[in-house]
Symmetry: C2
Subunit: 212 residues, 2 copies
């Protein structure tokens, strides 16, 4: 394993954040300036998405891939339990958020919706609400302090940024009391405070006080 410090290419407001208590160098990619499309970045990440993580001499290019890789190579702070069914429950929440909600309300898709005469906010709210309805129902079976039981898992790491995005779109979180309660619990944890967009080096000053 390489002893070099891992490098994380990210955007401060990016949804696909992750933290696992690993020291790394943060390398901002400004999505508003479409920096992810520039050749030097797309050579690293052919999908032109963020995040990209350079670690152990390898390049990893997708958030779930990165989470699973860290889980397998840094097992000392597990974010997946050992039981296969619990792992599956956690991964289903991860997939709903990272597959069925987030890609539908990211910048590029909303720009397309708008360019064809659609209402991008309405679309984002529809996608997040539909996803949250399923998640809320699922959490009634699986949650305690966090999404699945009382330990922070990969599901929680994906949930909190999605709640942050839901707030940006003005979604009424009163309809989702379990999601909101878990988000509150997570927000108290030091690792999640550090990972908050407003605490990233590329967060513009004017945004720092606006986002919560």
């Amino acid at each position: 394993m390489s002893s070099e410090k891992p490098i994380l290419h990210l955007y401060y407001r990016s949804f696909c954040s992750w933290r696992k208590g690993i020291d790394y160098k943060y390398c901002p990619v400004n999505l508003l300036e479409e920096a992810q499309k520039k050749e030097e970045y797309s050579d690293i990440n052919p999908y032109k998405f963020i995040p990209t993580l350079k670690i152990d001499g390898n390049v990893l290019t997708q958030s779930v891939e990165i989470l699973e890789y860290l889980e397998e190579t840094r097992p000392e702070k597990p974010l997946l339990p050992k039981d296969p069914y619990k792992r599956a429950l956690i991964r289903s929440l991860v997939q709903v958020i990272t597959g069925d909600i987030q890609p539908l309300q990211n910048m590029k898709v909303l720009q397309y919706i708008e360019s064809t005469g659609g209402n991008k906010n309405e679309f984002a709210i529809y996608c997040i609400t539909r996803g949250f309805e399923g998640i809320e129902k699922q959490l009634a079976k699986t949650s305690d302090k966090y999404c699945v039981g009382n330990e922070v898992t990969l599901a929680d790491i994906c949930l909190l940024p999605q709640v942050y995005t839901a707030n940006r779109f003005g979604i009424d979180m009163k309809k989702f009391p379990l999601i909101q309660r878990i988000a509150n619990n997570l927000s108290e944890l030091e690792a999640f405070k550090k990972a908050h967009p407003q605490n990233q080096i590329d967060c513009p000053a004017e945004e720092k006080n606006k986002i919560s």
Copy 2:
């Protein structure tokens, strides 16, 4: 582990198909009739998506979750190698397909695009093309007979249905020679032939000859 035969709730044309050489009972869910929204189904699958797999006395509700669960509980026919970096490469392809392409071109989203005056085919083609461009570039580094080397992996299981969908939308596959070559190789395998939409019990007769 329960000895009952696993039950798979699916739609014949569903993208999220999976096979791992496991005997199961196929239970069709007609998306065109919105059967996934009915209460008896949403009690099983709160996300109202397919597939749902009942197995070992548990209910699993998302395709990637199902694939990973089968990988962990049925390790005798592995679809992920042992090396963490190779696993990550495979999972990045899985995530691009199941997260960044498929949810954007599924029925519900395209209906929304159309309802707001957009061109749903154009949107689907845009999403698939953008995803395939990244995948093609990635495959130049990782592929041989299949997506990652010479063994069938989870990436291949996700790739072939996406190529089938690309064909439905009339995407010019000449631009993606590696994807097409791998799709051809996969199509020759017995397990993939069995999993083809036209070989599912709920495939309408008039569709059987149309789809390839």
